[in-house]
Subunit: 157 residues, 2 copies
Amino acid sequence: MRSNVAKKQHEPKSASSTASRPYRIEDQVGYLLRRAHQRASAIFQTSIGDPNITPTQYSSMVKLNEYNELSQNLLGRLVGMDKATMQGVVRRLRERGLVDSRPDPGDARRTLLSLTTEGQKLTNKLLLNGPAVSRETLKPLTAQEQKQLLDLLSKIV
Amino acid sequence: MRSNVAKKQHEPKSASSTASRPYRIEDQVGYLLRRAHQRASAIFQTSIGDPNITPTQYSSMVKLNEYNELSQNLLGRLVGMDKATMQGVVRRLRERGLVDSRPDPGDARRTLLSLTTEGQKLTNKLLLNGPAVSRETLKPLTAQEQKQLLDLLSKIV
DNA sequence: CCCATATCGTTCGTGTACGCACGATGCCAC
DNA sequence: GTGGCATCGTGCGTACACGAACGATATGGG
């Protein structure tokens, strides 16, 4: 009984004499970014052409395809994952035979990563679908809005 | 030896006779959304005022603060989490005494969730910092750009 | 009334994501 | 040189995120 204290039931807490809009979770950047990211991931999974490859695995492989060989930490910086996360991503890619590793001959702390032949083949196949994934994700927007969104996101990253 | 097959080392794969820009991971919506979401989460953690509350826990509590009582599934739909994710979020909030639950008297399948008195107190405290979190996240943008971004994100969610 | 279908909450498995602490290695100033 | 400090990779703990499968309950059509 004591737990249902007096609570106004019928007005959505507008408060404030100033004209500031009410605080709604649905209007907050963080919330919208989470939802948008969820949708983008879902589209990726259905459209990239291999349901077992995740967005982060994909970006890691694409980066390894550009550079021939990268240390784990550097790869992590390039794709925006911290080293603990990178650890798991690389382990899974290695377990599937998509990525190879060897100690860096010039620095014993580092491990150099590269795509296996199979990894290269898969990456090139997935790269064909990459543009379609982005296109589908941006579909609700006009061409101009799409450019704007990419621009604004770049600024806050 | 056999693994370093012929690979052009010096040009970033522009290809294509058409003027289409090269495909760069850094320019894809999904990638930018992931990075932007990471940054937003980091800002949330440092600015919301309680390092133990996550963004999803926060939005759940705010929603429970608006509506008095909600079933777990409905809450999940309102904050955009599937039921499996909701499960864990609610369990943790309950373990900390922030959320209470009781069986729905009208539907034995449902569990009704509500904030405890402590949960209400914490939510109201965090709500004071909510606007600052969004403000900080949007700081790199002008006022007009901020509005644009929220608008565009709403459209693709 | 009863059965097909849908919804609700749970559980399991996998994968990001990050803080923290650790040991090994590299590097630079002294 | 060597000692202090940074960097690299690893391991552990916690938390989101979701698909899939499951049992219990609800509902609507026949």
